[in-house]
């Protein structure tokens, strides 16, 4: 989703117009997954597939969050560990650990997540923008947030930033 769409959605919620504020149309779908206790999401158009953990071939001379490369049906796909990328402690991979392969601008990348949760709709009324606070470590990769039940928040990743970032 473009930033304009998000701004528009946020503006609608805050607008005095009741009709606009009540607009709860579906803007798209996200796939949600867990890292630790936090739920993250990725818009579904970027997701190619979910595969189970498999042997990852290490590649030398890359940052530690790039775990290596795997073979997905004769395509070589690099693997990024989201935990390490976000500066969280590594945990051993278990049978819930998954690789989600993403495709953005013809670039394929797989990300390792603790477990995959669900696929759900994005409602206009649930979107909220990220705080304008750059002190939070992972803030850069979050495009916007979705409010869920019981005051939970799902952080939607900015795939473009995640895959196209320059080396920090």
């Amino acid at each position: 989703m473009t930033n304009e769409v998000i701004k528009e959605a946020v503006a609608k919620q805050q607008s005095g117009d009741r009709k606009l504020a009540a607009d709860n149309s579906i803007l798209g779908k996200v796939m949600t997954f867990n890292i630790g206790d936090q739920v993250y999401g990725i818009e579904i158009q970027y997701v190619t597939e979910i595969i189970g953990m498999q042997h990852i071939t290490k590649v030398p001379h890359v940052p530690n969050y790039i775990k290596g490369i795997i073979n997905v049906r004769s395509k070589v796909v690099p693997i990024v560990d989201i935990r390490t990328r976000f500066g969280k402690p590594e945990i051993p991979y278990n049978n819930r650990t998954c690789i989600i392969t993403l495709n953005f601008n013809e670039t394929s990348v797989g990300i390792i997540v603790d477990s995959v949760a669900d696929v759900e709709d994005i409602h206009t009324g649930d979107i909220s923008a990220t705080p304008e606070n750059k002190n939070v470590n992972t803030n850069d990769f979050i495009q916007y947030m979705i409010r869920g039940e019981n005051d939970t928040t799902k952080l939607i990743l900015d795939v473009a930033k995640l895959l196209d970032e320059q080396e920090a």
Binding site: T57, V59, H61, I70, V76
Partner: protein
């Protein structure tokens, strides 16, 4: 904006393919004949045929401007064909035809990029006028008394000599076109044009195929009847018919039946060689200076060679089909999966401990076959560089004219094969480089060259060769070379220097020209100097995993060296393990592999390990240290050493153990990883092995360097 006729989209691809290959053929003929500086009648006929086919198919597709343009060019060549000696000033004819060919290419490109069937229609009026003028001029020269003919067809009809033929000795063929191919009448017309050259007598029915679309139905129902003389080369004509576009089948009818058939239908007579009479007039026309006997001989020899070449290319064409690249990619992926699946079946854990004699035999056969399958698929994607190289010929030719520089263009190693996708992405960079050589490289002033002791004529060389798993392409000129002083001045002005000036080596200075926005030519010309060239070249080459190096000497010349990996190339590799990683070392670089005993190791004062083999000392490179891999094998005696060598540099690689020899398919690292310096550190790519796991391919060059 013009619109592509509805219902034609399905045939567009075919049209583009056909027309583009015809245009390439045309360029080739023009370049060849221009060098010989004379049109052979064969060539003229060929050009005439090409124009004619393009005219027909363009009209069929509804591209009127293209059809008219081809028609006018055809008109001009009609005059030339009938009066081969008429051309006194060959060069302007060449320029015209090249212009026609270029206009075609641009218009076709515009159509190819159409959106919802809309495309920009170009105006060729100016060019058409030029062609008309040229034709009239030529016609006047050929026959001052005759008024210039308005139209080829008319001219042909007017000049038609009474056809001399007898009823017997005729061959009639009934041709059927492919079902649903549409426009049968125009296809029939094209077919007639194809065989017309070969026939001294030609009749066909229905006769008004060119103008009357109604005839399509008749052709579908009853077939298209062609009658020609038995004296003609029957087999060849039949072959032409057989191989013509969209022809489904044909049958040769007996003489009587054909007579009956053709008497039913409206009859048309095509004059044998339409304007034989005009041709006989030609000697009366102002003839150019007679050729010397020697020239004639030479021309004859060349003609014979050309004929042989044509025959060969004709034979080859039959064996070629064009395939969508996406299909090949899909095929390639499937083969990869088959091989992975195969090894999953053959080494399935369920089979463990079972005695399976016949299964093992079948498995071996399968393995052999899949291996062959893989090899074949790989080789399909490999195409020679010749096509791209030939296009450079044309660029040199155009620039030679425009810039007035005398240049020899030499091509070597054009048969080197590279993956198709790489060939495509090489075209633009090569074009830029060749242009740069012409524009900046070769000296403006011939006197400068003479003063420098160089031959008056400059040389631009384009070479390709295979070298240790890479294709090396060089574009070199013997021109003025790069002046480091000038580069430095410019760089200083632009403020792109990143370190103190005196720390720049000559090589680094030369490579500054590859930076964005760098162009030293003060004058921006049509060809180069916009400062977008070199960095685009660099970016394009790096996109397909290659590298470019500038190597120039002031006053001597400039070499651009492009190194391209063989993306899908198959290399013979030796698999070695280090920790839990598998590496592939190209066998071509391995001299020997051996176990080592502690006594052979020499350690110098700074702790570098070396080994003495037959009196030569080689450094030892521990792979696990180089790549930071954890392994239990750290004692040199426990592992294995491989002596590898490239470019006269050698090193002993220390690995855990050898697995064995395997043919592997080189795959580039994913683009996501290209921002990290993996390739500079001794790895050239990766490969997927039989069991689906990935092995990293060692690049001996960067590993040592």
């Amino acid at each position: 904006m013009a619109k592509i006729e509805p219902g034609m989209e399905s045939m567009l691809d075919m049209y583009f393919f056909e027309t583009n290959s015809l245009l390439e053929q045309l360029d080739e003929i023009l370049l060849r004949t221009e060098q010989a500086n004379a049109f052979e009648s064969e060539d003229i006929k060929e050009i005439f045929r090409i124009m004619h086919t393009i005219k027909g198919s363009s009209a069929m597709m509804g591209f009127e401007n293209l059809s008219v343009l081809a028609h006018k060019a055809e008109d001009m060549f009609f005059v030339i064909r009938e009066n081969p000696d008429v051309i006194t000033d060959v060069s302007f004819v060449y320029d015209l035809v090249f212009q026609v060919s270029d206009s075609y290419k641009t218009q076709i490109e515009a159509i190819q990029n159409h959106e919802n069937g809309e495309y920009e229609q170009m105006n060729f009026d100016e060019l058409i006028n030029k062609l008309l003028k040229a034709r009239d001029q030529l016609a006047n020269e050929a026959n001052p008394n005759a008024a210039p003919d308005a139209k080829t067809e008319n001219a042909a009809a007017d000049a038609s000599a009474p056809a001399v033929h007898t009823e017997k000795g005729k061959v009639t063929v009934r041709v059927f076109f492919e079902e649903g191919c549409q426009m049968e009448n125009l296809r029939a017309f094209l077919l007639i044009n194809t065989i017309r050259e070969e026939c001294s007598f030609l009749e066909f029915s229905p006769a008004d195929v060119e103008t009357n679309p109604e005839t399509s139905k008749e052709i579908v129902d009853h077939g298209f009847l062609i009658t020609f003389s038995e004296e003609d080369n029957k087999d060849y004509i039949l072959k032409l018919i057989e191989t013509a576009l969209n022809v489904q089948s044909y049958e040769v009818l007996s003489g009587e039946e054909s007579a009956a058939a053709s008497s039913d239908a409206p009859k048309a007579e095509l004059p044998p060689e339409p304007a034989k009479t005009a041709a006989t007039n030609a000697p009366a026309a102002p003839a150019p200076a007679p050729k010397t006997a020697e020239e004639k001989n030479q021309a004859a020899v060349e003609k014979a060679q050309a004929a042989v070449a044509n025959a060969q290319s004709g034979a080859q064409k039959q064996n070629l089909i064009s395939v969508n690249l996406a299909k090949l990619d899909a095929l390639h992926d499937i083969v990869g999966e088959i091989i992975t699946t195969e090894s999953m079946v053959i080494s399935n854990p369920d089979l463990e401990g079972l005695e399976l004699e016949s299964f093992n035999k079948a498995a071996r056969d399968l393995k052999k076959l899949t291996g062959e399958l893989q090899d074949t698929v790989m080789s399909i994607r490999m195409v020679p560089l010749a096509g791209v190289f030939q296009k450079m010929n044309r660029i040199v030719r155009d620039m030679r004219k425009k810039l007035g520089k005398e240049v020899d263009f030499v091509i070597e190693g054009e048969n080197t094969e590279v993956d198709k996708s790489i060939v495509d992405s090489l075209q633009d960079p090569l074009m830029h480089l060749v242009r740069n050589c012409m524009d900046h490289g070769i000296e403006e002033n011939v006197q400068d060259r003479i003063n420098a002791g160089k031959p008056e004529k400059g040389t631009i060389k384009l070479t390709a060769q295979n070298a240790s798993g890479e294709v090396v392409i060089t574009v070199s000129d013997d021109g003025a070379g790069i002046d480091p002083e000038k580069i430095m001045n410019k760089a200083r002005r632009m403020g792109i220097l990143t370190k103190p000036e005196n720390e720049y080596s000559e090589k680094e200075i030369q490579n500054l020209i590859l930076l964005p926005g760098f162009s030293t030519n003060e004058q921006v010309t049509e060809f180069s100097g916009r400062g977008v060239g070199m960095d685009v070249v660099k970016a394009n080459i790096e996109k397909c995993g290659g590298a470019i190096i500038v190597d120039s000497k002031k006053g001597v010349g400039t070499n651009f060296i492009i190194k391209i990996p063989l993306t899908l190339a198959i290399i013979d590799g030796m698999e070695i393990t280090v920790g839990d990683l598998v590496f592939t070392v190209p066998i071509s670089t391995i001299r020997e592999s051996f176990k080592v005993e502690s006594g052979q190791i020499v350690t110098d004062t700074s702790g570098n390990e070396m080994i003495m083999i037959r009196g030569v000392c080689y450094p030892i490179l521990r792979m696990h240290e180089k790549f930071g891999i954890e392994t239990e094998v750290t004692n040199l005696e426990d592992g294995i050493l491989l002596l590898v060598e490239t470019d006269n540099k050698s090193v002993c690689i220390f690995a855990d153990r050898l697995i064995g020899e395997q043919q592997v398919v080189v795959k580039p690292f994913p683009t996501y990883l290209s921002r990290y310096n993996i390739k500079g550190e001794g790895l050239s790519g990766c490969t997927i092995m039989g069991d689906g796991s990935i092995s990293l391919i060692i690049d001996t060059n960067t590993l040592i360097g």
